[in-house]
Symmetry: C2
Subunit: 205 residues, 2 copies
């Protein structure tokens, strides 16, 4: 049995011990004969997988009334992984979701590091700086790099911190953000934990 | 006598009564014979104006030790306009600056509305929504449009509001942001007020 989280560019597999990635363009899903429980945000891959009997779409087993219709299945799985806390999933977008006593309480979508760097640069070349993840948030900035870092990172930090809850970091930029959220819990397998919980609820394992 | 705030695309004039704009590409500054006190963020225009005797660069009269080296002259002028408060200058970028007892206390740079819309859209077409400026910030969002609006507008609102100071809105998107900052003071001539204050300090008027 395998778990798989499929994004726009990669298949991210987890076999219970280790995780590995395959390129969406190169990988042939029919090459796997084992049962694969998956979530997928990539429409064309999803269509292809629906024809393969051993690939089971876990999104069909989610109690959707607990979330909202256009909410990404990756966000939902991260929420399913925890009982209480804030999930900060830092990828191309950063999603921030609150879970209290196992219930999704709402969340928001922020731009990811790469997208935001591009955004500042596109406004003006004078705003092209790398973000300072070790910024002192107790002082209002008096230099350009910190002024930009505060605008992007400081506001996110303050918002997330204001909930007074445990912070779970996942996604490709999780390690970078752990410099900002110093008492957070980095868990790159968070989505897979959520997937396992859904499987248990649905008696799939 | 005229005041002029020159950006990357326009000359913004103020004659003491009304303000009007001219296109940077089309306008010939030597066509004006009156004295013009200006600030300019456009390098090539600045070089051209330095050859015209009746155009006076006000940035040369600013006490720069009160600010920082790479700070935009437009931000500085907005700060010079007020004694106490937060200036939110909402243009292609949004600059937020704190002034206490006439002193600049620091500030940050956020993305402007257009840049941020583009940014979300570039991350994924699924994130292409217009921002909801009438968002209820007391609830965590449970739909995509509000999740994005909260990420962009909610975090800015909460930060600015946390200072507990009077909010001055300027820039092209000031009116739109006045829906968010309901008790703010919209002043499209704020920069010109700052320029006048600099002129008084430097005995130029």
């Amino acid at each position: 049995m395998l778990l798989c989280d499929i994004g726009n560019t990669t298949y991210h597999f987890y076999d219970g011990n280790s995780s590995y990635k395959e390129d969406v363009k190169l990988f042939d899903p029919s090459s796997i004969k084992k049962k694969v429980f998956y979530i997928c945000v990539n429409k064309s891959v999803k269509e292809r997988l629906s024809l393969l009997e051993n690939w089971v779409d876990l999104s069909l087993h989610v109690e959707m009334s607990r979330y909202y219709k256009t909410m990404g299945i990756d966000r939902i799985m991260a929420c399913e992984a925890i009982e209480d806390g804030v999930v900060v999933d830092a990828g191309s977008a950063i999603t921030v979701d609150i879970v209290k006593s196992g219930n999704f309480e709402g969340g928001f979508i922020y731009a990811g590091v790469r997208a935001m760097s591009e955004c500042y640069k596109n406004i003006s070349p004078a705003l092209e700086y790398s973000f300072n993840f070790e910024l002192d948030l107790d002082k209002m900035p008096k230099n350009s790099r910190d002024a930009i870092s505060y605008g992007y990172l400081g506001l996110l930090y303050k918002e997330v911190n204001s909930y007074g809850m445990k912070v779970y970091l996942s996604g490709g930029d999780a390690k970078q953000f752990s410099k900002l959220f110093m008492n957070s819990h980095v868990d790159e397998l968070l989505l897979f934990k959520g997937m396992k919980n859904i499987m248990k609820k649905a008696n799939l394992c």
